[in-house]
């Protein structure tokens, strides 16, 4: 069934179709519609789930952790300050190997108060052991929630499905809402090998000395390393059933491209428009929209970018004192694999628009220089 829905509701439908059993959430702009619709679905019986209206995001994730260890499929959604407040519990859920799935609406961190988009909230959680999917359309949001549950539950690692504030969260698009029966066939019920029950009593997460802790973290990394192949496999399976492939990246006109833009989120679709326009002007240019950021898809990124003459990474985020975060990771991934100059651009912090003109500026800068002249080139900033 096709419906015109906002990005936030795409998250809600994804959680509903995945038959989430426990949802614990706290409101924050611009996430509120996600949980409003879910609470309606729980109230009218569309979704058979417990909705816990907690008093903070910290408690939201703690409750999700409790529900997940009890064996229930668990979902929540937040944004920005809320995600930052959860930080401790993000480590707890991944360290406890609990496959919670969470929607995060990319919103800038205060101060000053900003409700508009950039990626510093989710990228600040880069090292918490969560998988991160950056989406660019409402359809992708809905589909990715379902896929994320499948991948998360197989690997016992939680997932964050991420979308831009307003640019996607409040933008209405036509979305195909799959049949429940087909989703059920794709995503079997959650059945973890260990759970908190008096029928098989165990102590989870207790004091763990140096003789054991290291191995637990080694195993988390080893399972994280299995994720890229599993995402591709479950993405192909999804394509067979629903006609839409869900991969690690979205490579657009990259095959013969001399300059490849690296983007993420909705700016990634804007870049498609800019690529078409500049191709019309005879520039051999492509766009690599990175969807999965954790685990980092090394092989895919290297295979695509090593053929380019120049790479221009456009980050809607910054690691202060360093680069844009995607740029630093792309550079590190290419080191020793390809001698391609990587240009680092920062654009669109705090919700400033990233338009096709922004990408023209990026490309003009990149074309006119053989190598980057400065660590960061700023797009659209009043210096």
């Amino acid at each position: 069934m096709k419906k015109v829905i906002m990005g936030n509701h795409a998250l809600s439908y994804g959680a509903m179709l995945s038959r989430s059993q426990v949802i614990a959430a706290y409101p924050i702009t611009p996430q509120t519609q996600v949980v409003e619709l879910l609470s309606e679905m729980c109230a009218d019986g569309t979704l058979n789930a417990k909705f816990i209206k907690v008093e903070s995001e910290h408690s939201a994730m703690a409750a999700c952790i409790g529900a997940s260890i009890a064996g229930a499929r668990t979902f929540t959604a937040t944004s920005s300050q809320g995600l930052a407040l959860m930080h401790e519990m993000l480590h707890w859920s991944s360290g406890g190997r609990l496959p919670v799935v969470m929607g995060n609406i990319n919103r800038s961190m205060a101060p000053g108060w900003s409700i508009w988009t950039d990626q510093n909230d989710s990228l600040s959680q880069r090292d918490t052991g969560w998988m991160q999917y950056y989406c660019a359309s409402n359809q992708e949001v809905l589909d990715t929630v379902i896929q994320a549950f499948k991948v998360s539950e197989k690997l016992a690692i939680p997932s964050m499905v991420i979308l831009d504030a307003f640019a996607l969260s409040h933008t209405y698009e036509v979305v195909d809402i799959p049949d429940q029966a087909k989703v059920d066939a794709y995503l079997p019920p959650f059945n973890p090998p260990f759970r908190l029950t008096p029928d098989d009593p165990h102590a989870f997460g207790g004091l763990t000395g140096p003789e054991h802790y290291f191995e637990l973290r080694y195993k988390l990394q080893k399972d994280m390393e299995k994720a890229p192949a599993l995402i591709e496999e479950t993405g192909r399976e999804f394509e067979k059933m629903f006609g839409r492939y869900l991969g690690l990246v979205d490579a657009y006109r990259c095959e013969d491209a001399e300059i490849i833009l690296v983007t993420s989120g909705t700016a990634g679709y804007t870049a498609h428009v800019a690529v078409d326009e500049m191709r019309g002007r005879g520039l051999k240019i492509g766009n690599l929209r990175m969807k999965v950021f954790r685990p980092f898809p090394f092989d895919t990124i290297r295979a695509i970018l090593k053929k380019a003459k120049k790479v221009a990474v456009v980050d809607r985020n910054i690691s202060y004192g360093y680069h844009g975060i995607f740029a630093q990771e792309v550079k590190a991934a290419l080191l020793g694999h390809a001698r391609v100059p990587v240009f680092s651009f920062i654009a669109g912090l705090g919700g400033r628009d990233i338009t096709p003109a922004s990408f023209r500026e990026v490309v003009d800068y990149t074309v006119s220089r053989p190598e980057p002249e400065e660590e960061i080139a700023w797009i659209g900033v009043k210096k």
Binding site: G66, A70, A72, R195, D200, P201, A203, G206, L207
Partner: protein, 301 residues
């Protein structure tokens, strides 16, 4: 031959806290969980945040417990327990009792927000605070449960704690939860009865257990039971229940309320106090006792 006296057992023999655990000598927290689990039985799940009990059950891969435990973050006993209860219900387990088992720091201080949230929503959990009146697991730092006048490593003798203990029971009463009670590890039958009662009530239950800590109080392990009795009989920690935040019942009447001096003398943490300071503390205890009697509508004797 004289008639042999038969001793009647007042508590079940079943043990859910095994031997070989890491509690200190004379640990009240250890006794508290033993008694509570005797009342709750095997179909119980514990959510334990950072506190002495995060360590007492043993290091991975061992546990001295025969009931399952989820070790949760410091401030999340109530919120984790909320999630566990919801999760169990969704997978068809409607029977298991979910217990948040936290120390005073995890309850009075860092976990208070989550506890208030769970109580306001009236989550169907039993929240137990075993109160040893300081952060004992980290090495005796003051919490808001530390009593007036006490020494801790962060309230040294020259600057001993000059604020009274936070009234957590009044805070919980303000949430009008269906059932709450105070208890002392030196009155196990009373604690057992209250825990049984809590198990039979739906909604949020709060049990506040006085749990002596010889290590942190600088008292003798063999005085732990004595201290748990004295603190009730001198009115510092009376045993009472509150239903729906309104109906107060005094469970242990005191005919001859003792002065607090003897109780303080047995604990090194109060050794520095001068007679006039003890006199001031005695007046505070008497006032609080009088306020409680009024709420319980009894003369207390």
């Amino acid at each position: 031959m004289s008639k042999q006296k038969k001793m009647t057992l007042t508590l079940p023999l079943e043990e859910y806290v095994g031997a070989g655990n890491l509690a200190c000598q004379g640990c009240g927290a250890n006794l508290a969980l033993r008694y509570v689990l005797k009342a709750l039985g095997q179909r119980t799940v514990l959510c334990i945040p950072a506190c002495c009990w995060a360590v007492i059950d043993g290091a991975f891969p061992h546990s001295c417990m025969s009931v399952p435990i989820y070790h949760c973050a410091f401030e999340t006993a109530a919120s984790t327990a909320t999630g566990v209860k919801a999760g169990l219900q969704m997978v068809g387990d409607l029977e298991t009792t979910v217990v948040a088992w936290a120390g005073d720091g995890g309850t009075f201080d860092i976990g208070l927000q989550a506890l208030s949230g769970a109580a306001e929503r009236n989550e169907d959990i039993i929240y137990v605070c075993y109160d040893n009146e300081a952060y004992m697991n980290t090495g005796i730092q003051r919490s808001s449960a530390t009593p007036l006048g006490a020494w801790t490593t962060t309230t040294p003798v020259k600057f001993f704690k000059d604020q009274p203990k936070k009234d957590i029971d009044a805070i919980m009463a303000a949430h009008r939860i269906p059932y709450q009670a105070t208890a002392s590890t030196s009155y196990p039958e009373d604690l057992f009865k209250k825990t049984k009662k809590a198990k039979g009530i739906r909604g949020t239950k709060f049990i506040h257990i006085y749990a002596p800590c010889p290590t942190g109080w600088k008292s003798r392990p063999e005085d732990a039971i004595k201290l748990g009795r004295m603190v009730v009989q001198n009115g510092i920690f009376p045993l009472y229940e509150i239903e729906n935040g309104e109906k107060y019942t005094l469970n242990m009447k005191i005919k001859d309320k003792k002065p607090i001096d003897e109780y303080l003398k047995l604990q090194g943490r109060f050794r520095h106090l001068k007679p006039e300071q003890i006199k001031g503390m005695q007046e505070e205890v008497d006032l609080a006792w009088a306020r409680l009697l009024k709420k319980c509508e009894t003369d207390g004797a």
